[in-house]
Amino acid sequence: MSTTVDRADGANSPDSSAPAPAPRATGKGVPLAYAGSGLMTASALMSWCYDPDVLGDLTLYGNPAPVQLTMLVLGLLGLVLAMSAKGPLRRLGAGLDTSRGAFRLGLGAVAYMALTLAAITAQAGGLVNADPGAWVALVGSLVLVVAGRLGVSRPSRNIGAMRAKGWVEILVLVALVAIALLLVADGLTLRDPWAFVLLLLGVGAAAAGLAGANAFTWLGVTASYHSRVLTLAAFVAAFAFPLTQNGSDANMSIATQVIIFSATALGLNIVVGLAGLLDLGYIAFLGAGAYVGAILSGSAFATIDWQPPFLVTVIIGALFSALLGLIIGSPTLRVSGDYLAIVTLAFGEIFRLAMFNLDGNNGPKITNGPNGIPAIPELNFFGFDFGVTHHLFGIPITRFSNYYLLLLCVIALIIVIFSNLNNSRIGRGWVAIREDEKAADAMGVNVFGLKLLAFAGGAFLAGLAGTIKAHHDVSVTPDQYQFLESAFLLAAVVLGGMGTVGGVLLGAVVLKLLPEKLRFFSEYRLLIFGLLLVLMMRFRPEGLVASKRRKLEFHEDDEHLADKVQTIHLEEKTS
């Protein structure tokens, strides 16, 4: 990163008046930071435990197990922070708040070691089983916390305005995507819940440290410069994921569910994130698509004896869903806010109950009531059977991998639709309505038409995903489409960041993946997600990934703009 060049001094950095090229090392904590991260790094090469059965084998010297590798990475990160405060990486340090970074990284590492020691205590029967290595790691982490508290260095420059050479930036992004893929592939193979939670905690500690040091600000700006490269890399990684699974279906089944959930959340993101319409019954549109897919699938239990080609079914399902959206939307979109939420909530329940009762006794026999439509045959595209394992270069592509790859194409389509709509006249109209409906109306924005378009468009995409979900799930029953699912979709959108693609994908992955992987905590998942949402609203209301509009506040790539913002802030202060 020695190639960083400076474009403009940021208006937000604390002392932009004195643009010193080097970080302002407050110094006192620097030696401690070196010592702490050095200890952490070294500890990874020591034995942590007498018992070889705990958390993989932690007993060996010089041969770190995965749990210790995580600590190694954290230690190296700490070293990087220390070196950018005072050492070979000083130029990098000009933009980094290494004090805060070291403090948070240290705290994360302390939590990591606390849990590791807890695991050793619980599994090996007592804290006495912990070897010196574990204690060294804990002490190192604590030292790093102290170092951060004492102060390592403060940024002298706005990191968002620091740019490296194009290829360096791209390389960093691609490397990060690759690391993410490896982490996911690796993390999913962990069967031991302790190890899985530890991995999460480790990733969290690293993220906390980097975020504390403002590195994510740089990452956000850089990612927006190279958004195409990043998207491409993410998709290549996603397509490569089945190849890492070596024929195992366990993780692929979770992955397909995550993707279906993400695709639906992206559809909801149009309605909630762009047009600002609160829809609490969105799952019904996914259900409508799934029922159409099931009824037209040729299943022995289907009530209509017509099996069109699957592409036709997809279109029918999506259009049927959109039609439902229009029917429910045209009378209700005249109300807004709370009223709309209540109406859509009721609609979701009406859908579920209708599917429950169209069983031949209470109404026409269409859905088989609570039994649903089972035995939906596998998809078959031009002789490509989705139900059997295929081989690509000798690597087995299993049933779930087939669906995964198809769904990946669908989600790519949805992302294209979403972002193209967002960056257009239509998207601007939506945002205008969300900002001030009356003003939008007075400026000639077709408020009602655009709301209806958002509603129907979102329903269309959900219906599209639903038709595939029917085949993937093999059976469709009413109880899959409860209110709780709508609430989770909404939570994914809000948690991830309304109006963004990356954020919502991240939110969907977090909300769907964690409960699947952490079965033992599934009883508490509502409790934990509730808590999580409350905390998010308190500390980061814009979601995990802030939308472009939020980012604009921090993004000053021209000096005039920065000056202007600064004078405005000054004016605000004086007035």
Partner: protein
């Protein structure tokens, strides 16, 4: 023109010969038992600046809302270039009449450029499919929209604030941005509701220059304003509303010297001042809110 005052003959540059653009006849707006606007006529010709004055609560903004379709007038009709305007804001804008708001209503979390681009919405056509498929038509239109929006920002003097979020802009700039947004709809008539409220003298002078520039480009402008010096400098004709009724209409000179206007503003001194204006405002507000609640949140 039911008022007896001959308003067109006085001023030398009163453009009486030009075409009538905006014509409101007998506009009445009642909220329950309260008549906020009572039989008001207004005629605006091409290239004219008309001022609308009156004490607080006289019904000026309500009259604007009737003109632009935000309210459906109880009685009367509004014509633009001879065609009757339906009381739908979107249709009014498309017909060629655009407005700004008394309390600035920008899209706060959009940039200045985006705000103006939203103003182009009613003059562009690209639909959902064009947008998704990025058709040549979409690209062309999008480029034109962007270019026109930038032009308008330059025109009102905000050419360098393009990428600022509207809510981060200084107050005076926000007012100008609102004018740019209104101009983006290609109006024939521009309605400005207190364009200089809260401005310092320098900004007021700038606003005056801007409004003259807009007039010179061929638009008709109607201005609500409390700053009398500003309004008498600016306008070709002034209409004074008091308690919803037209008190007098005429040249700035005539209106300025009319004792009734002075009386309406400062009272006669014998205790027969107009009702507490704030009270009337509050009443209207309450009525409108009640009605909106009944109609389910849409005004």
């Amino acid at each position: 023109m039911s008022t007896a005052v001959a308003h067109d003959t006085g001023a030398p540059d009163a453009p009486s010969g030009r075409d009538v653009l905006l014509e409101a006849r007998g506009v009445v707006m009642r909220f329950g038992g309260l008549t906020a606007v009572d039989d008001v006529d207004l005629t605006v010709r091409e290239g004219e600046i008309v001022g609308l004055i009156g004490p607080n609560g006289a019904g000026k903004t309500t009259f604007f809302n009737c003109l632009t379709g935000l309210y459906k007038p109880t009685e009367g009709e509004v014509r633009l270039s001879g065609t009757v305007l339906p009381p739908k804001p979107g249709r009014v804008v498309r017909a060629g009449m655009s407005r700004t708001f008394q309390n600035i209503r920008l899209f706060a979390n959009m940039t200045a450029l985006e705000n103006v681009m939203v103003g182009r919405y009613c003059r562009t056509k690209a639909g959902a499919f064009d947008s998704i498929l990025r058709t040549p038509r979409f690209r062309r239109e999008e480029a034109q929209t962007r270019e026109r929006a930038q032009e308008l920002l330059d025109y009102v003097g905000l050419g360098r604030s393009t990428e600022l979020l509207a809510r981060n802009m200084p107050y005076g700039d926000q007012r100008r941005l609102e004018i740019a947004r209104a101009l983006a709809t290609d109006p024939k008539v521009l309605l400005l509701d207190e364009p200089t409220a809260g401005m310092n003298p320098q900004e007021t002078a700038d606003a005056e220059r801007l409004i003259f520039k807009i007039r010179d480009s061929g638009l008709a402008v109607v201005v609500i304003e409390h700053d009398m010096r500003f309004i008498f400098n600016l306008c070709d004709r002034v209409l004074c509303l008091v308690r919803g009724k037209t008190l007098i209409e005429g040249t700035p000179g005539e209106v300025q010297s009319d004792p009734r206007v002075i009386e309406a503003y400062i009272g006669t001194g014998d205790g027969t001042e107009p009702d507490d204006p704030d009270d009337i405002d509050a009443k209207i507000e309450a009525q409108v809110e009640a009605r909106e609640a009944r109609e389910g949140g849409r005004g």
